[in-house]
């Protein structure tokens, strides 16, 4: 009795928790409402199956509990029932898979009018690069990374000269324009994740990965790293600001290009020089300190 009751309470409790608890996804800020819809479909189908199975169990435990003189029914197989259940399951699975794959094909096929934005991750900060007037990003190589060229843009590539470099600062994006995020890392795996955009993708040193989305509302959104990248992982926050077109252009006008940044500097880059000679443990501690202070 008690067991059957507990099973029923688990179903009722789980459904009520789902409906009433304050913990739910953040308001969406991208075009990926399709993904949210697929999740809703999945919640419905799986929720019904969960309730059906557990309630059926509760009924069995109540109805067929042992009492004196009871004897179980001897029925090794029931081919019809088994094939019928298999077919129903296959239909349910298809109902989940088809919309899922449909949305996935949208996710992986980038619209032709999407602008490229490069994200470069390193322990434990985010940098960005936007193509200049030529609309093309210059090629890059981790081996070209230096203190003055933090993203490893290849100096000899003419396409790279007018690229806008945003080092360890906020990224701005115009609202309503599709963007293709080109993801790069110069040290370990990272993952560019903004919960409100619903999309994320790992960044792999040595490769360029991507995803695309269209910001649908203006605002300031926090970037989180979603792939374990060492002890600074939980501190690796960034900011994406989605602007109106006007504000975006104003911001863009203040940024510096690769050519401007790589012009010979007068400063002796005081905070970089000792870094070269520090033992690696100290260097990490210093880096964590900087990240934490930000």
């Amino acid at each position: 009795m008690a067991v059957a009751l507990v099973l029923v309470l688990i179903v009722v409790g789980s459904v009520l928790f789902h409906l009433l608890s304050p913990w739910w996804w953040t308001p969406i800020a991208s075009n990926w409402a399709y993904i949210d819809n697929t999740i809703i479909i999945t919640f419905w189908i799986t929720g019904i199956v969960f309730a059906a199975v557990v309630l059926f169990m509760a009924y069995c435990v109540f109805r067929f509990r042992h009492r004196e003189g009871n004897r179980a029914f001897y029925e090794p197989e029931n081919k019809r029932l088994e094939s019928w259940l298999t077919i129903v399951t296959a239909v349910g699975v298809t109902a989940l898979l088809v919309p899922g794959l449909f949305v996935w094909s949208r996710f992986v096929n980038v619209p032709s009018d999407a602008t490229n934005v490069e994200v470069v991750a390193q322990q434990w900060q985010w940098s960005f690069r936007l193509p200049g007037k030529d609309g093309k990003l210059g090629t890059s190589d981790t081996r070209d990374v230096t203190a003055d060229n933090p993203l490893g843009v290849i100096g000899g590539d003419p396409n790279g000269q007018d690229d806008v470099v945003v080092e360890a600062a906020d990224l701005h994006l115009p609202v309503g324009k599709p963007v293709k995020m080109l993801l790069r890392s110069i040290d370990v795996l990272h993952d560019f994740y903004v919960p409100e955009f619903r999309a994320k993708m790992d960044m792999i040193p040595g490769s360029v990965t991507y995803f695309w989305f269209t910001p649908t509302r203006t605002g300031t959104f926090q970037v989180l790293c979603a792939e374990l990248c060492g002890q600074g992982h939980p501190l690796m926050h960034g900011v994406v600001v989605v602007d109106t077109q006007q504000d975006y252009l104003a911001w863009l006008g203040q940024q510096q290009t690769f050519a401007q940044l790589s012009a010979p500097l007068q400063t002796g880059s005081a905070d970089q020089a000792p870094g070269k000679t520090m033992a690696s443990g100290l260097k990490i501690a210093a880096k964590l300190e900087t990240v934490r202070a930000r």
């Binding site: 557990v54 169990m57 029925e75 090794p76 792999i204």
Partner: protein, 589 residues
């Protein structure tokens, strides 16, 4: 039932005795024993011991998550070491070792009607190498720099770099060495389990008369023998990268402004190797649980397992399919996105045989004679948690739905429910079920019920709400959740609640351990077959079974393992070694 009479051409019941296998002293009887039952207990005790370490580690990480900033000694470094060791211990050193080394060793020879494993000496070595692997793992807690904090997936490049605890110290080296040893030891045991099932069955024990427990362990072992080599080579390659400076997994890297001496390696290659092992590993843990729970349900509902043949084919089908779904762990890894179409399809297809198993368990309850014994309670709890965790797998397996949820607490909740809580509930059910055979005494009933209710409801309260943190977007593997715009005040409260539940559930395990030890001397005498079960391990002349298991003659098997409540039979169970027909035979051919 059709009587089986030994036909011409069937070899004599047994091969000649080999003197070597018999213990001659206390040392060879209890320590360097070649008896699978002793080895099983050694495996189980070692796995439980290291499992307790993992339990304490989980408390420490929950202290940090539930009450951030309160405990200064839990630095981010320490936190990552805790989660890494917790995960690795639980998956490999506890669950794999316990199901295959523990239950496999104890149950396979008894259930198939053999005197022992076919290679007892290798079986003994298997345990001692496992113990060595555990000791190497534990030693990393005392090594300079502590254990690795790379996450249990050990993804390079960070796993062997200085930004990760243990990456440039001893931690990662000891972890990889321990894994290599574990795999060597497991291979010795695994070959034994497979060959014993194939060659060591007693007369009349056809493959289609094997209890599902044996089918589950057998299939899981075959899978493990195929999957572990991928982890083995990945471990060796990473060890070479770390120690000799090769570049299997290491591309050109600029670490904190310094160029590392690596070039051209592929971090994602490691992920493919890891998950080619890692996904089958989920089923290496799950299939023995599937098998065992089938037998628990059937025995305690006094009813044949429903759809035995379908259950066998589902086990084999899941085992085969699990080798072509691995990249569903890598949807957002940056592999070619078109792989997503293939792996989402295979992953959702695997839901079909899995669902069939669930249906057949609940249909076994239908029109049964359900005794709500403690093993049965754990079996019911397993179905609830497994269905819950399996269904959330349909979220994560469906590639595009995985995109927002991957690497969040949703994943943590999912895999704990499906391959943590669910299989461990089966372990508990199985221990309450077979403890009387192992010790001759029953476990204490009142303590057992207390243990059951706290563990089941507590674990559900830990992991069910956790999904919703993931839905909010809270990432996993965050040592601190401060300064995050998505973390609301109430979400922090939920984390505290989850932590408190984790301490309560952990405490209940202490009660269980007490019960295990106390009942050895003080439990009620069990007799040979307290559950009135049909399978051969309950038909041994002595309880606990002596060396050689079955006395002078091996049993002959006349029927399948599920003749419960056969119409026309006097008792509601007919052991497998009882000849004779009772009414119309319905045993699946």
């Amino acid at each position: 039932m059709v009587d089986i009479t030994p036909a011409d051409g069937i070899p004599p019941a047994e091969v000649a005795e080999v003197e070597l296998y018999h213990p001659h002293s206390w040392w060879t009887k209890y320590v360097f024993s070649q008896d699978a039952k002793v080895i099983a207990i050694q495996y189980s005790a070692t796995a439980t011991g290291i499992g307790l370490v993992a339990l304490v580690l989980s408390w420490l990480m929950r202290l940090q998550l539930g009450f951030p900033g309160t405990f200064d000694f839990i630095t981010p470094e320490a936190y990552y070491q805790f989660i890494t060791m917790h995960g690795m211990i639980m998956v490999i050193y506890l669950l794999t070792a316990l199901f295959l080394g523990g239950f496999g060793n104890y149950l396979i020879p008894l259930m198939v009607g053999a005197r022992d494993m076919v290679f007892p000496y290798v079986n003994m070595l298997s345990y001692w190498i496992y113990l060595l692997a555990v000791l190497v793992l534990v030693s990393s807690f005392f090594a300079p720099g502590g254990p690795t904090g790379a996450g249990w997936t050990l993804y390079p490049p960070q796993a062997i770099m200085s930004g990760t605890p243990g990456g440039q110290d001893w931690g990662i080296i000891l972890m990889l060495s321990s894994l290599i040893l574990f795999i060597i030891g497991f291979t010795m045991g695994g070959l034994n389990y497979v060959v014993t099932v194939l060659q060591g069955r007693t007369r009349g024990m056809t493959m289609m008369r094997l209890p599902l427990t044996v089918w589950g362990i057998f299939t899981a072992t075959v899978m493990a023998l195929l999957a572990f080599p991928a982890l083995f080579v990945a471990s060796v390659m990473m060890l070479l990268d770390r120690v000799l400076g090769t570049s299997f997994f290491m591309p050109a890297i600029s670490e904190m402004g310094e160029q590392l001496q690596h070039n051209g390696g592929s971090p994602i290659l490691f992920q493919h190797l890891f998950w080619f092992f890692g996904h089958p590993e989920v089923y290496i843990v799950a299939l023995p649980a599937f098998g065992i729970v089938s037998d628990l349900i059937s025995t305690h509902a006094r009813k044949n397992i429903f759809g035995y043949r379908m259950m066998v084919w589902a086990i084999v089908g899941i085992g085969a399919l699990s080798f072509v779904v691995w990249a569903h762990h890598m949807y957002v890894s940056g592999m070619h996105p078109y792989f997503g179409f293939f792996f989402a399809t295979t992953t959702l297809i695997i839901a079909i045989p899995t669902a069939i198993k669930v249906y057949n368990w609940v249909l076994t309850l239908w029109r049964g004679d359900i005794h709500l014994t403690i093993p049965m309670l754990f079996a019911l709890a397993f179905i609830v948690t497994f269905v819950n965790g399996g269904l959330t797998g349909l979220f994560l397996g469906n590639v595009v739905v995985d995109v927002p949820l991957s690497d969040t607490m949703f994943v943590v909740a999912h895999f704990h429910m499906v391959m943590g809580v669910a299989p461990i509930l089966v372990v508990f059910g199985a221990i309450y079920h077979w403890y009387p055979k192992v010790t001759g005494r029953m476990l204490n009933e009142a303590l057992g019920r207390f243990h059951f209710w706290v563990t089941f409801l507590g674990a559900y309260l830990i992991f069910f709400p956790m999904h919703y943190l993931g839905l909010m977007g809270v990432p996993r593997r965050y040592a601190e959740l401060t300064d995050m715009t998505i973390m609301t005040e109430s979400a922090h409260h939920l984390n505290s609640f989850i932590s408190i539940m984790a301490f309560i559930v952990g405490f209940a395990q202490m009660v269980f351990l007490f019960n295990l030890i106390w009942s050895i001397r003080h439990g009620r005498e069990a007799g040979g077959n307290p559950w009135r079960a049909t399978t051969l391990e309950w038909q041994t002349p002595q309880t606990p079974p002596a060396h050689g298991n079955f006395g002078k003659d091996l049993p002959i098997v006349y029927r399948w393992a599920y003749d419960y409540s056969v119409p026309g039979a006097k008792e509601d169970f007919i052991p497998q070694n009882i000849p004779g027909s009772f009414g119309p035979s319905k045993e699946p051919a």
